[in-house]
Symmetry: C2
Subunit: 191 residues, 2 copies
């Protein structure tokens, strides 16, 4: 049962009932434990991951030995290390579940097979990737432009529920803050 | 004659001679003068741009009134403000030719028409966008991780010719440096 994924695909392209059957058969959601890794640095990434329920984080270990989060993925997001997946080179990232989650993984072999069987998926993935790329372009802009405090305010205004959902030290890592600085900003806001 | 684009497409998907004819008819390269704008902040972006020859830069005006470059596009790259293009909202960027260039612009109406006529283009754009997204993921990582000097060294090692090609103040803007700091780094290297 990959209902969530099928619903998501149908937001962008029309599927036939035969297509839905193929997808239901090929892509099964599986549980992922909190803190379970989907891949680690040094491993070649073979799959793209769709979050049915829960939350994943993509991070790397920086020069100081600290985890630095670059992306989160929640419900209805695809996530992977696309450089590793595209070039079949070892990843420089870790992908890990933040919460107990349910995900669908689709490996490259399966992906090419599915795309042959359901050509509409080309369009679906093109659109979804365009949106992800647009968000990355925007993010590169605000990483360049805004002060740390403004980045935080902007993020809270865009994703108020998400800010409540993830552990604060992870949010700090994603925003490039120390946990102490984030706590200061939150207190300032509540004051 | 959109030979460069057709060659680029054929690196990723097979085209029939009929497809080539359609593309040649629909997408004509046009000259763009040095410093000419393809769109400006506040305008809705309707096209995706392919660089046949030359160089474009995407930039915004930051809070201090300074131009801040976030991306360059050279031969065989597509470039646009994809948030503006996708949502048909006013752009917050400027797209401008750095050099006298030759580009192909493809607007959304034309794009949807071409994709219906040549379904292989879905695959081409999916792949090209995946590569662009992978590069953006990687860039977000190194913007988070590396010192300014390391970012410069890394960039020079990846794109040695490009570093010689663009005006140094633009390279400084892209890397988030002052022109003085970039000049210091270059001298240090040559010393």
């Amino acid at each position: 049962m990959s209902d969530a994924l099928i619903k998501h695909i149908e937001q962008f392209v029309a599927l036939k009932s035969r297509d839905r059957e193929i997808l239901n058969k090929a892509l099964k959601p599986r549980p992922v434990k909190k803190k379970e890794y989907l891949f680690k640095e040094g491993e070649v990434c073979h799959s793209n991951y769709f979050v049915v329920k829960g939350c994943l984080r993509l991070f790397f270990i920086n020069g100081k030995g600290t985890e630095q989060i670059t992306q989160f993925a929640i419900e209805n997001w695809w996530m992977s290390d696309y450089m590793s997946l595209d070039r079949q080179r070892p990843s420089t990232f870790y992908l890990q579940a933040v919460e107990t989650s349910e995900i669908i993984s689709c490996d490259t072999v399966q992906f090419e097979k599915l795309i042959l069987e359901i050509p509409e998926l080309e369009r679906y993935f093109r659109i979804v990737q365009l949106k992800a790329y647009a968000a990355a372009q925007f993010r590169i802009r605000y990483l360049n432009e805004l002060s740390k405090e403004k980045i935080y305010r902007h993020f809270v205004s865009l994703f108020p529920d998400f800010v409540q959902r993830v552990p604060q030290y992870m949010l700090a890592s994603y925003l490039g803050f120390t946990p102490e600085y984030l706590s200061e900003l939150r207190n300032k806001r509540n004051a």
